[in-house]
């Protein structure tokens, strides 16, 4: 199994490809066509798209990728429902958010977009066995209502916008909820065993318990 991290230029958002024998699972299609370019250059065959949450930087290429490869999307029901509105996928505030982060006014207006709902949705927890590997999804609201943590074979955890290296999660964007984060998600995050490889939606990957050795 190979895991490839791909990072979009626009918002420095990480997407991941999990590859086994030429077949891949995509975690967050991201932006800028980085996932599509990698898949086509390597000749991979996608089989699933998994979403950590509904925010625009993680899903802007979702429709293009699912359309091109014809693969099902797996997301929490809440995430799925929030993909279809620019106010909940936050594409409506992309330019303002970008300005606040960079101080640069973009020359072009970013498109507001919507995505179709996921083909497979779940509430609470969900398990997927794929080519001998085990994915576990667990809802983890706080950053957004649709957030989930995705573990792979108990060794990797794809955390979306949680557990970013040296950065506290943002809880004040629309749909964010600090009480949910503290009461529901923090206990889940604390149960992730040391030694788990943390693969966040932004920034570097690292091993829990060895944060100073971030890759």
């Amino acid at each position: 199994m190979n895991i490839t991290k791909l990072t979009s230029v626009k918002t420095i958002c990480n997407s991941y490809l999990i590859e086994e024998d030429g077949f891949v699972v995509i975690i967050d299609p991201g932006q800028d066509g980085v996932v599509e370019a990698e898949i086509d250059s390597k000749g991979y065959q996608p089989e699933y798209i998994l979403l950590t949450h509904e925010h625009f930087d993680h899903v802007q290429d979702l429709e293009a990728v699912r359309e091109k490869y014809g693969v099902p999307v797996i997301a929490s029901r809440t995430c799925s429902e929030r993909l279809g509105d620019p106010r909940t996928n936050l594409s409506i505030i992309e330019d303002i958010l970008s300005y606040y982060k960079t101080g640069v006014v973009s020359e072009e207006k970013s498109p507001r977009f919507v995505c179709r709902e996921a083909e497979i949705t779940y509430e609470g927890e969900y398990d997927l066995v794929w080519r001998g590997h085990s994915f576990t999804f667990i809802e983890a609201p706080g950053h957004s209502p649709g957030c989930v943590l995705i573990t792979l074979d108990g060794e990797y955890c794809f955390t979306g916008d949680y557990m970013l290296s040296n950065e506290e999660p943002t809880l004040r964007l629309r749909g964010g909820n600090e009480a949910d984060y503290r009461n529901i998600t923090v206990p889940i995050l604390e149960m992730i065993p040391d030694g788990t490889k943390i693969c966040p939606g932004h920034g570097v990957s690292y091993t829990k318990g060895h944060e100073t050795e971030a890759e």
């Binding site: 409506i92 505030i93 303002i96 958010l97 300005y99 006014v105 973009s106 207006k109 964007l173 629309r174």
Partner: protein, 81 residues
Amino acid sequence: MTNLEQYNRAFMLNFRLKEEDLPGLEYMGIIQWDSVGHMDLIADIESAYGIQMDMKDVLDLSTYEKGLKILSEKYGVNFDE
């Protein structure tokens, strides 16, 4: 709902204010109207009128009154209806 009522509603809902609190309101003048609050406010204003504002106007909308002026002069929102 009139355009003015929609405009006021965006402020009142986002910042949990009453209508009488709105005149004179300034960006960063209350704790709720910070950068995050501003993003939500703009999102609601744009959704209410079906517009996408230029970033310059987004940044210029720094008081309740300036918002009225920008929206009426640049985006054709009629507040006199």
